[in-house]
Amino acid sequence: DQQVKQNSPSLSVQEGRISILNCDYTNSMFDYFLWYKKYPAEGPTFLISISSIKDKNEDGRFTVFLNKSAKHLSLHIVPSQPGDSAVYFCAARTSGGYQKVTFGIGTKLQVIP
């Protein structure tokens, strides 16, 4: 089941620079997308989401971009901070139903001080 794909297992970025995490999806029924952050020994923490009727959503240092025609979304973190070092999961769900969320495998971000 590869409905949500994160092709980069890891990413290293210098502190203060931009981090860009990418995600592709194959299920055209997905209409709501989420990013979760996960530290070791903790559960996923909700970060930011975007509905399919938008192409951008911003929350502080975090911006998510959605390109529906390409079935691609990305998370931008600017400026990156060492505390952002974590695994980032892209996730998606369809409307209706009870919000079953489909996760990608995650990208491990390391922000180097």
Binding site: L34, T45, F46, F89, Q99, F103, G104
Partner: protein, 113 residues
């Protein structure tokens, strides 16, 4: 900030034994979920629960699994006869509404010997 809490943090059980994983969702949430993550793999949806009944379940959630909300605060996942392949992190999540993001607990690591 309200949290989803899960107990125990680590459960070791002999194969064939029953295990109950416990969760206390955020108090005013109405939608409850279980996910699992086998080591090195994706977070996978198991089941969603709303209005005291299962609303959706995955193919993983077979007859060996059951969920219950025995009182107003707890939400449990029972595995009747555990198998080696049930070893995983099990995450509980809850959401306040149909359009709200799910909030996750820190998980229970289940080890089947």
């Amino acid at each position: 900030e309200p949290e989803v809490t899960q107990t125990p943090s680590h459960q070791v059980t002999q194969m064939g034994q029953e295990v109950i994983l416990r969760c206390v969702p955020i108090s005013n949430h109405l939608y409850f979920y279980w996910y699992r993550q086998i080591l090195g793999q994706k977070v996978e949806f198991l089941v969603s629960f709303y209005n005291n009944e299962i609303s959706e379940k995955s193919e993983i959630f077979d007859d060996q699994f059951s969920v219950e909300r025995p009182d107003g605060s707890n939400f449990t996942l029972k595995i009747r006869s555990t198998k080696l392949e049930d070893s995983a992190m099990y995450f509980c999540a809850s959401a306040g509404g149909n359009n709200q993001p799910q909030h996750f607990g820190d998980g229970t690591r289940l080890s089947i010997l």
